[in-house]
């Protein structure tokens, strides 16, 4: 145990040498350990970098696109320069009658906007297909080889550099072809879901935190039970919340969550409302714990001054405690929300659809969400879906990072004032 156990030495000189040696070894060991610790910490940074690089690497690169029909054979001018009648005519000439009738179910082709018609021509007739796709790094390193290979294997195809995360990707909804699929309905679904989550979780979470910090005596058994329970709930896996949401919101409260109670024609309880409420239950413990900390950090002198002036408990809380704790509460809420945005497992269980091409119409509509879309695309075998999954991940990460930046700004502002 004791490294400095005295030894017997022949002479004074020998003893000094041994001691020096011993000290030297101890210091060497300490230095070695320090660099080991440093390296492991660096590993965490490397992991994060690798993760980001993997995603970025997949999100852009060369693609070999082959058109089913060469656009030059449809018209001698570029499609974007044609007017509505010409585009409609192209559609009528090249599509079967049944298909045209299906397309015209909502109105004549000629009456639709030019950009929709161009999209239709592309999707229905030209049908561009990515036959080969490359990641960013191979694209940068083997540029000429990729072009040569493509020219040999696909003589009619065009090689282009594609950013999978582009404007069309944000505007388009889910489609069965990866080139045309986008995140629009998923983004809108995520937004509405989060809105419901905030509206439910914020008041209840802050209310619970106020109760626990300002009203509850820490000795009473029920309050201790509530506190322990909240701490434990924060560690329950998210998929268990999903199962709870499935049993409670989707099934037991179906008349409410499907909108039947409000006269909305909902088919089942697998709606944005159910998912939002499930998510609210999921982030509630985190929100409460963060809000409690914020409320606890308001100095007691403020409360005592307020009571001293004759304010009631609620007046003290409303006018003095809450304003002081608000930045902290908001920061905590934002962090909880960023957890909810990326959470996937409960949404799968609650029943998010993976193939929805229309925008969600309100709390009672079926929906898809960004992480669900990522999960769906990741699990598909075609490589092009991996690329759009990477693009969707970038959208998600950018949203999360900007939320976190807001949280940090709030925190700094709060820190300055105190």
């Amino acid at each position: 145990m004791n490294p400095m156990k005295p030894k017997t030495f022949g002479s004074n000189q020998e003893m000094q040498d041994a001691e020096k040696n011993f000290l030297y070894r101890r210091h060497q060991r300490a230095r070695l350990a320090q660099s080991v610790f440093q390296l492991t910490t660096l590993l965490a940074v490397i992991f994060l970098a690798t993760l980001l690089v993997t995603v970025v690497n997949k999100s852009m690169g060369y693609v070999v696109v082959e058109n089913k029909v060469n656009p030059a054979t449809l018209s001698d001018r570029p499609l974007s320069e044609l007017n509505n009648t010409e585009l409609a005519q192209i559609l009528r000439e090249n599509l079967r009658k049944n298909r045209v009738r299906t397309l015209e179910r909502t109105g004549f082709l000629e009456d639709q906007s030019q950009s929709t018609l161009v999209q239709l021509v592309e999707a229905e007739i030209i049908q561009p297909e990515v036959v080969e796709s490359y990641n960013l790094f191979p694209s940068l390193i083997n540029r000429s080889k990729i072009k040569a290979d493509a020219a040999v294997s696909y003589p009619n195809a065009k090689v282009e550099f594609r950013y999978w995360l582009n404007g069309v990707f944000l505007i388009n909804s889910m489609a069965s072809q990866p080139e045309l699929a986008g995140v629009r309905s998923a983004l809108l679904g995520s937004l509405q879901l989060i809105l419901i989550t905030i509206l439910t979780a914020f008041p209840i979470g802050v209310g619970a935190a106020i109760y626990l910090e300002e009203y509850a005596s820490h000795k009473s058994r029920i309050n201790r039970l509530i506190q322990t329970n909240i701490d434990n709930l924060a560690g329950v896996p998210s998929i268990v919340y999903g199962i709870l949401g499935l049993a409670l919101f989707v099934r037991a409260l179906q008349p409410f969550t499907s909108g039947a109670l409000f006269g909305v024609d909902g088919q089942n309880g697998r709606t944005i409302l159910s998912a939002g409420l499930t998510m609210a239950l999921l982030i509630l413990p985190i929100l409460i714990i963060n809000a409690q900390e914020a409320i606890r950090s308001v100095p007691d002198s403020l409360r005592q001054a307020s009571y001293g002036l004759g304010a009631t408990r609620w007046q003290t809380i409303w006018h003095h405690v809450l304003p002081g704790a608000m930045p902290g509460i908001l920061t905590g809420t934002i962090l909880a929300i960023s957890r909810a945005i990326g959470e996937t497992a409960p949404l799968i269980v609650v029943g998010a659809s993976t193939f929805i091409t229309s925008d969600p119409t309100g709390p009672f509509s079926s929906f898809t969400a960004l992480p669900i879309q990522i999960y769906n695309w990741t699990t598909r075998p075609q490589p092009a879906f991996q690329h759009i999954a990477a693009a969707a991940i970038l959208v998600l990460l950018i949203a999360l990072l900007s939320l976190n930046a807001v949280a940090i700004l709030l925190r700094n502002r709060f820190a300055k004032r105190v």
Binding site: R26, R29, A30, Q34, V36, F37, Q38, T40, T41, A44, V45, F47, L48, T50, L51, T54, V55, P203, G207, A208, I210, Y211, L212, Y215, N223, L225, I226, N229, N232, G235, V236, P237, I239, V240, Y241, I243, L248, R251, L281, P285, R313, W314, G342, E343, T344, A345, I348, V349, G351, P371, Y375, T378, Q386, A390, I393, L396, L397, L400, L401, N404
Partner: protein, 320 residues
């Protein structure tokens, strides 16, 4: 106002006969009471959530075990999970959950503790201010992104190293390793909290006796913070057991009773995600089985959380 009134009353002789009465009783304020009741309700919501989880899971699991073909014992000890032919043995699922969790912990625990050690004992304040946000970002990355990372980076890497004939496209090792990266920030931040809670005086005493930084860290600070680190370890296990997306994406679908981490095998959470992701009709054995597995999962993680809390409370060294 009232004081001056009293003084003027005192001056007149009649005031002594007819004293003004002051109501010093506590005033009842209905709004205050309503607000307090609402706040209490907010607090109770969390208890209702727990009750909801236990009751709903319990109820459906009861239905599941109510089936005469399925008994709790055969559920817990059966080595085959094939709902089609009525075999519901949870061991294959539990086994792969354990294997992925063990791999994750083997990665995350040493790295996490070493990182915590560096941050709390070695790093300068400036370095900490750079490293901590990086760890926070790592902790904030959604798990579905980790799943993507496992499938598109870790799996090809493992197949490249060990040969693609030895490693399945979906395998437990890849999921476990990435899960380790995912829980690394959790373990490091909890351990760091425990390490920094050890008072400075202990370190200074050790330095004063001539100990090196390493000796101080390993022989003085680490033992003092051990309860917190064990708690971090248990929370890490609980997080790994309950993690869904990484295993659902990278560990494969289809239960498989195997101890080879390079094989595909579905975990408990992966099974729940797959079954509930498909078209699910109520009151079928499939539907009820996810509740039975969910209940088992809940009991395991809840037990681990309580254990972790108990350890950190029971064995905490209190200074000053």
């Amino acid at each position: 106002m009232e004081n001056t009134a009293r003084i003027t009353e005192k001056r007149t002789a009649t005031a002594w006969k007819k004293p003004v009465s002051y109501n010093l009783q506590k005033k009842t304020r209905p709004t205050e009471a309503i607000i307090q009741a609402f706040l209490l309700f907010c607090g109770v919501v969390s208890i209702l959530t727990t009750l909801g989880i236990v009751l709903e899971l319990g109820k459906e699991a009861w239905l599941f075990f109510g089936d005469p073909e399925i008994s709790v014992i055969s559920f817990l000890t059966g080595t085959e999970w094939q709902p089609k032919i009525g075999k519901f043995g949870v061991l294959p699922l539990l086994n792969s959950t354990l294997i992925t969790s063990v791999i994750a912990i083997v990665v995350a625990l040493p790295l996490g503790i070493a990182t915590a050690m560096f941050l709390s004992e070695y790093a300068s304040p400036k370095m900490r201010s750079i490293l901590k946000p990086i760890l926070e970002v790592l902790a904030g990355v959604p798990t579905v992104v980790y799943g993507y990372f496992a499938l598109t980076f870790m799996t090809p890497l493992l197949r490249g190293i060990f040969g693609s004939q030895n490693v399945d496209v979906y395998n437990m090792a890849s999921a476990g390793l990435v899960m380790g990266i995912m829980i690394l920030p959790l373990i490091s931040s909890m351990s760091e909290d425990a390490l920094s809670a050890v008072p400075r005086s202990l370190r200074e005493a050790a330095y004063g006796l001539g100990a090196t930084r390493l000796e101080t860290a390993l022989q003085v600070v680490l033992p003092a913070a051990l309860s917190g680190i064990i708690a971090a370890f248990i929370i890490g296990v609980s997080r790994a057991v309950g993690e869904t997306m990484i295993v659902a994406i990278a560990a494969g679908s289809g239960p498989n009773f195997t101890f080879n981490p390079f094989n595909a095998a579905e975990t408990m959470t992966g099974y729940i995600a797959r079954i509930s992701g498909g078209d699910l009709s109520y009151n079928t054995p499939d539907y009820n089985s996810i509740f039975a597995i969910g209940l088992l999962l809940f009991l395991i993680t809840f037990g681990l959380n309580i254990l972790s809390r108990a350890i950190s409370r029971r064995f905490r060294e209190v200074y000053e």
